[in-house]
């Protein structure tokens, strides 16, 4: 019984040596860096960058939008093919690639010699594969609340050496959101809404990112009861009857591009013609891809939600 503690102590001592060894090596390299790169090395989560990245590859349209907004656009060398529709904030687009963010080849990404790769989902073990090649990977997963957006912008700012740019973007967004919400009239009764993902009536609840924007605008989601226990992950499929019973004040269509839905097509659906949203002209078309991102276009999306809500007369 006496040996294990001794062994454990030895192991601890060894670990201590290793840790102190690492620590001393990192402290010795820091002073040798130039003043311009004083902010580096930078550590965010589990990745550490020793110098400012200049060959960034973004495999997420939202991350591409964020990187260009915070002023790191010139450091981006390649993006995935879906990023082609992103907002480049007036800057020149980087080289377009055929990289698909869903099944990209890690080796093909490595071939561009990136010093930072940004992804939004890790379905093909991309992070593990690139990490073994010593290429840092930042995962900017789909945001759940607006705070995730601010956090990702701030962290991308730290990683790219654009902290000031990121701080300005976040401050601007916060101000735009506050301004938009300030315009909301006081209502005795909260407005209800239905948010449509496709014409098979898949919807979102208030627990999703997009749903949280409507909650900020003080609106009630008619899809919430359909996924009260959260088993559908916040994306329940409604029945036409449930929508008609819910009789929302507003309908938001996030299937205008994919499925060519519009106020006219909604009005023609059996039983939908008498819905308050339809008779009152409050069916609001949104751009599918803008509505599926969580980047810098969010304040604008929120503003359009608020505008639509303002148009509904007090009952």
């Amino acid at each position: 019984m006496r040996k294990p503690p001794a062994l454990a102590l030895a192991a601890l001592a060894l670990a201590g040596l290793v840790v102190s060894g690492c620590a001393s090596s990192s402290t010795t390299t820091t002073p040798s860096q130039s003043a311009a790169a004083a902010a580096f090395p930078v550590t965010v989560g589990d990745i550490t960058l020793t110098q400012k990245p200049t060959h960034i590859v973004s495999l997420s349209p939202t991350a591409t939008d964020m990187l260009f907004a915070i002023g790191a656009g010139a450091q981006v060398v390649a993006t995935d093919k879906n990023s082609d529709d992103s907002d480049f904030h007036g800057q020149p687009k980087p080289a377009k690639t055929d990289l698909d963010s869903y099944t990209p080849s890690a080796e093909a990404i490595a071939a561009t010699n990136p010093d930072l790769v940004v992804i939004s989902s890790d379905t093909n073990k991309i992070k593990d594969q690139l990490t073994t090649l010593k290429i840092p990977v930042y995962v900017a997963s789909a945001a759940v609340t607006i705070d995730d957006t601010y956090r990702q912008e701030t962290e991308l700012g730290q990683l790219t050496g654009q902290t000031a740019g990121a701080a300005k973007v976040v401050a601007d967004e916060k101000k735009q959101i506050t301004d938009a919400l300030a315009g909301l009239p006081n209502r005795s009764k909260q407005l209800t809404y239905y948010y449509e993902l496709d014409q098979t009536l898949y919807s979102v609840t208030s627990k999703t990112f997009i749903g949280s924007l409507f909650s900020m605008a003080n609106m009630i989601n008619i899809a919430d009861p359909a996924d009260a226990d959260g088993k559908a992950g916040g994306y329940p499929q409604l029945t036409a009857e449930a929508v008609i019973k819910g009789n929302p004040d507003l309908i938001f269509l996030a299937d205008t591009v994919c499925c060519q839905q519009s106020a006219a097509t909604v009005a023609k659906r059996p039983g939908w013609g008498s819905l308050q949203a339809v008779t009152g002209g409050h069916v609001v078309p949104l751009n599918d891809s803008v509505a599926s991102q969580w980047g810098t276009q969010v304040p604008q999306l929120l503003a359009s939600i608020v505008t639509a809500a303002k148009a509904v007369p007090a009952s």
Binding site: D98, D100, E107, A108, T132, L133, K134, T145, G233
Partner: protein, 363 residues
């Protein structure tokens, strides 16, 4: 009936029951060749001579100046080589299990997924993926879950399904036939598949991930998956190969095999256990890769002989080479993206199989 028995015995007399050395050499050569070619080719162009030196450098005690940059040498040793090895192991296991099932059930259509492994693993993986989504989406910003939850769930699901099939199909009556086991497999598969479809419908945002798992992939980083799978393939492979003579005896039917001193039921149980365990392990790291377990043993049978003493070892070798080669296609054909390997195995495997079938004398 008499005529048929006669033709079978003439056939066995003509065909070699022993594994010919030239076929064994061809199998080993195929594995070595495919390994070298696969490791040399990829989206990043690397000097093949450097790759060859790098492979030699991996042998303990050998130190060579490969001339490769650190990135290229990491691509070879940490991405390509483990992936090729994983392809060899999975391909070898699936082909061996397929050949084994075809012998046990005396059914040419048997594949490694016959007893519910695929459906069980599919349900397990879908449940794990759905659970990760349910817990990651709702409470604040969650992590992506543990990396080994999906393989573990798939492995457990596969074993549960096969155990259930065996309990339903082989339990109870003494007069059960292999056909009962196949039917039980069909029933259990249908049941588990229904469960999987229900989960997929309920957690619709997981469809892409589940789908990618169903189509199979050998994406791996480093050696962890290879080391995880290796013991299963080695142990179950040795067990299956050790029973190859028994499978030949069983080909005449249970009663006759018993009169020849064999124990068909015991042999069948051992083989079903080994083949299912091996397949479950393979499937848990690679997803469902179809076709290998059916076409490789048949192609071997058509080319080299119908004795299981020939089919099983050669299936292991050619199955390994075939899957590694198919993965080379999956990695490079649509570069910079990847194709699910199940698509490649079926797309190129099916025509190849037809060619073998049409040109072979033994159909």
């Amino acid at each position: 009936m008499f005529r048929r028995t006669g033709s079978v015995s003439t056939r066995t007399a003509i065909e070699p029951a022993r594994l010919r050395v030239r076929w064994l050499v061809a199998g080993v050569a195929a594995v070595v060749l495919v390994t070298i070619v696969s490791v040399s080719i990829g989206p990043i162009r690397i000097n093949p001579w450097g790759v060859f030196l790098q492979l030699l450098d991996e042998i303990p005690g050998v130190h060579l100046n490969t001339g490769l940059s650190p990135r290229d040498s990491a691509v070879v040793t940490e991405l390509r080589l483990p992936r090729v090895c994983l392809g060899l192991l999975v391909g070898s296991m699936l082909a061996l299990a397929g050949g084994c099932y075809q012998g046990i059930f005396r059914n040419p259509l048997a594949d490694p997924y016959l007893l519910g492994v695929a459906a069980g693993a599919g349900l397990g993986a879908t449940a794990a993926i759905a659970a990760q989504h349910a817990f990651a989406v709702l409470p604040a910003a969650g992590g992506s879950g543990t990396p080994y939850a999906i393989p573990l769930a798939a492995f457990v699901g596969a074993l549960i399904a096969v155990a259930l099939t065996y309990a339903v199909g082989a339990g109870g009556s003494r007069y059960r036939s292999p056909a009962t086991l196949i039917l039980a497999g069909v029933a259990v598969s249908a049941f588990f598949t229904a469960g999987q479809s229900f989960l997929q419908q309920k957690y619709v945002e997981t469809i892409r991930e589940v789908y990618s798992w169903i189509m199979g992939r050998l994406t791996t980083a480093g050696w962890h998956d290879v080391l995880l799978l290796l013991p299963y393939v080695v142990v179950t492979g040795i067990v299956i190969l050790s029973q190859r003579r028994q499978l030949d005896v069983m080909a005449v039917g249970d009663e006759e095999a018993e009169s020849l001193g064999a124990h068909p039921r015991r042999t069948r149980l051992i083989l079903v256990l080994a083949a299912s365990l091996g397949t479950a392990a393979a499937v848990s790291v690679s997803g469902l890769i179809g076709f290998v377990g059916i076409i490789v043993p048949h192609a071997v049978r058509l080319m080299a002989g119908s004795s299981y003493r020939v089919i099983l070892p050669l299936s292991a070798l050619f199955g390994a080479a075939f899957l590694a080669l198919a993965d080379l296609g999956a990695r490079t054909l649509m570069s910079p993206n990847e194709i699910p390997i199940g698509v490649v195995t079926a797309f190129f495997g099916a025509p190849f199989f037809v060619i073998v079938m049409r040109t072979s004398r033994r159909v």
